[in-house]
């Protein structure tokens, strides 16, 4: 059989065996009843022991959401979600507030161990994972179960904690910044998230501080029929620097799981935030059954002069991904970057991209998007670059490359450019290439087997993006890229 034909038939097999994070954890859970009403919102708020203002905020979000319609413009197809058939709150029963790591439910600890995420600081310090200096916030279904290195970070003045804790401990910061980048009513899912978000990470880097270590959050959806609505808020004061990474996995389940997150980043004068994502939610099986719906709103606001934000994403999982990490380049001289690898295989559907909104003078943005489609998947890049009239000397560089493996998948590139200013310089490059039998034959004639050949071609294809990940994760991501295409070669 010709290599590509074989590829196509083998792609069909990508499922259970290839998804290495598909196990479930059996633990007792505390759940709210199914469905979404004002009472559920009150229930969540009460569970979180939230102050009155937070409850009111959630309720108003809920009322907004009730009036909104699900968006349908993305190039993805799925049966209508029954929002009344979901659980909106699920937390491990045992010991939600931990005094120390030793109190953590051993099953959860085991789960994170299986995922290769070190929660025990001792283990990290002992170099068990090789990644020496990473603080971790681990979120299990609806709650944060543990945050490591809190004290060490506090010495530098850095706040890194679950957002539920920030609401209690740092209400002034939360009130000031929450929904200041993504307004509650921005879209259907941001409104829903605002009403029912249960946890997420909160990061505050004070003026002039360079965060002494990488920060990371690991999300895990375990419970069936449970939506995960996390909320992340990152604030970098003047001159602050931080690099943050999120990783996501979920067990294999036949029903679809909903994940609707909101991430907001505020960056002040001369500050810099690097946000990296390695998203590996369960993609569904070979028939396209199951998998996570990943509907996410991520936005960074470069509020200060010369502020800088960089989004890097490696999207390999989820049945459906709907995600456009965006940059509002408000401060003069601010810079936004978006580096993306989006891999779709099997029946996965991805509609992802970015928005670069140039409001300030001399602002710059750079978009490097690498879409890889295999199997029967669909992979769309959708992006907007816009300049306001008053924003002079804006620069944008966009490069969108698509790589197709087999002939049953599709790739689309939808770039919008809106320049209301003649001094703007936009550059756009796009390519589409294909791993066909000729390329495979050439590599194999030189001694590479099919898998090595695909890995080499794909890694070459997305090199520019992989290089942008924090070093500790670049190798992992490279492996993940290979694993997620494992079914596509012999």
């Amino acid at each position: 059989m010709a290599a590509v034909k074989e590829t196509v038939s083998q792609v069909a097999e990508i499922d259970v065996d290839n998804y290495k994070y598909g196990f479930t954890t059996d633990i007792e859970m505390d759940k709210a009843p199914k469905g979404l009403t004002e009472d559920i919102v009150r229930f969540i708020s009460a569970k979180k022991k939230e102050p009155e203002w937070m409850l009111e905020w959630r309720l108003s979000a809920y009322r907004k959401w009730k009036k909104m319609e699900e968006p349908t413009w993305a190039m993805v197809q799925y049966p209508k979600i029954d929002f009344e058939d979901l659980y909106y709150y699920a937390a491990p029963k045992k010991k939600v507030e931990l005094d120390s790591l030793d109190d953590l439910d051993p099953d959860i600890l085991e789960t994170y161990k299986k995922l290769g995420i070190p929660l025990k600081e001792q283990e990290i310090l002992a170099g068990v994972k090789g990644a020496s200096n990473i603080a971790v916030d681990a979120i299990f279904d609806s709650v944060s179960v543990v945050t490591t290195f809190k004290e060490k970070l506090a010495e530098a003045g850095v706040i890194f904690c679950p957002i539920s804790e920030a609401i209690q401990e740092h209400p002034e910061l939360v009130k000031k910044y929450l929904a200041s980048v993504v307004p509650v009513g921005d879209n259907f899912y941001s409104a829903l998230n605002s009403a029912v978000f249960t946890d997420g990470s909160f990061v505050y880097i004070p003026k002039g501080v360079k965060c002494p270590m990488e920060l990371s959050t690991y999300f895990r959806i375990n419970e069936p029929n449970t939506g995960q609505f996390e909320r992340t808020l990152i604030i970098a004061e003047e001159g602050a620097h931080v690099s943050y990474l999120e990783g996501c996995t979920a067990p294999m389940r036949d029903e679809n799981q909903l994940h609707a997150a909101v991430v907001e980043i505020i960056i002040l004068d001369d500050a810099e935030v690097k946000y990296s994502t390695v998203q590996n939610w369960y993609p569904g099986n070979s028939e396209g059954i199951g998998g996570v719906y990943n509907f996410v709103t991520k936005r960074a606001d470069c509020r200060g002069k010369n502020a800088k934000v960089s989004w890097t994403q490696v999207e390999t999982g989820s049945a459906i991904t709907w995600k456009y990490p965006s940059c509002i380049l408000r401060g003069d001289g601010s810079q936004g970057e978006f580096y993306s690898i989006a891999i779709s295989n099997g029946y996965q559907q991805i509609d992802s991209g970015t928005k670069m909104i140039h409001l300030g003078k001399n602002t710059k943005s750079r978009i490097i998007s690498k879409g890889i489609s295999a199997g029967k998947s669909s992979n769309t890049y959708r992006g907007i670059v816009s300049t306001q009239r008053s924003a002079t000397n804006v620069r944008n560089f966009t490069q969108c490359d698509s790589l197709l493996i087999g002939d049953k998948c599709s790739a689309h590139t939808i770039p919008y450019m809106e320049a209301r200013n003649s001094s703007s310089v936009f550059e756009h490059e796009a390519t589409t290439s294909k791993i066909n039998d000729d390329v495979m034959f050439y590599c194999q004639q030189r001694g590479l087997d099919e898998e090595q050949a695909v890995a080499l071609i794909v890694n070459g294809f997305c090199k520019e993006v992989l290089q942008n990940l924090p070093m500790e994760f670049a190798v992992e991501a490279q492996k993940l890229v290979a694993i997620s295409l494992e079914g596509s070669v012999g």
């Binding site: 059989m1 010709a2 290599a3 390519t431 290439s433 039998d437 000729d438 390329v439 034959f441 050439y442 590599c443 194999q444 004639q445 030189r446 001694g447 590479l448 087997d449 090595q452 080499l456 071609i457 890694n459 070459g460 294809f461 997305c462 090199k463 520019e464």
Partner: protein, 248 residues
């Protein structure tokens, strides 16, 4: 080294090779000439294992093994090298990286250790210089934006590095100017040895002025209709295919 018996092969249900016989002993250089569409590239592809070409009959033994039982990469690791008529471009993969990956992949199949980076670099530098290939070219993505001549020189570079026992060159001379032709021929000649054999596919006698063959075969309609020594190429140049075919 290579023994082809009554080879019949088709592509997309069309018979191309119709009972081809050819024996190549160690150290011999054979040239195959023939009109367009005669099946020259088909032969090269069948030898290398391109699976778009179906073998319908006959046998091929390579180093006393059944070649047709081996995968493409196993054949490569056992010393089969094909210099492509149309080399492939791979964006994003530096030529240097590709060379290293292929070398180590072959060593791995043979159960040998990987070459250390410094040793590899030294080797590449030396061979590249010989072929007028600059370090800058080695940093560029494989064959992307290379001129026709650069692509062909890059094929020969891979051949020099991989040190195959059977070098199959498919129209390596096409698209080369006389200087590039000389460089390529010098590269090929430097590999001639009593243990290594070559199968040179070409349209024109020109290349054979530089790489002197021991045998020349004329392939027409998927069959070798005439074999001889190097003078046959000159005869062909003088009389043209038509007369040779008519006489055969």
């Amino acid at each position: 080294m290579l023994e082809i018996k009554n080879l019949q092969a088709s592509v997309e249900d069309k018979m191309i090779l119709n009972g081809l016989n050819l024996t190549i002993n160690p150290g011999e250089v054979h040239a195959i000439m023939g009109p367009n569409g005669a099946g020259k590239s088909t032969l090269a592809n069948v030898l290398a294992g391109q699976d778009a070409y179906q073998v319908k009959g006959g046998q091929i033994s390579f180093h006393s093994e059944d070649l047709l039982e081996l995968s493409i990469e196993e054949r490569a690791a056992k010393g089969m090298f094909l210099s492509f008529q149309y080399p492939i471009e791979i964006p994003g993969v530096a030529t240097m990286t590709f060379l290293k990956e292929s070398m180590n992949a072959q060593r791995k199949i043979r159960g040998e250790d990987e070459l250390s980076t410094p040793n590899f670099m030294k080797l590449v530098k030396e061979k590249a210089q010989f072929l007028n290939i600059t370090p800058e070219m080695l940093r560029r993505p494989l064959n992307v934006g290379f001129s026709g001549g650069e692509k062909k020189r890059n094929e020969i570079l891979q051949m020099l590095l991989l040190e195959p026992s059977l070098c199959v060159l498919d129209e390596t001379d096409s698209g080369l100017d006389i200087d590039a032709l000389r460089v390529v021929a010098d590269g090929v000649n430097s590999l001639r040895s009593p243990k290594r054999s070559m199968l040179i596919i070409t349209h024109y006698q020109r290349l054979l002025d530089y790489i002197e063959p021991d045998f020349v075969h004329i392939l027409v309609d998927g069959k070798i209709i005439k074999s001889g020594d190097k003078t046959l190429a000159l005869e062909l140049e003088r009389d043209g295919y038509k007369n040779i075919i008519a006489a055969a």
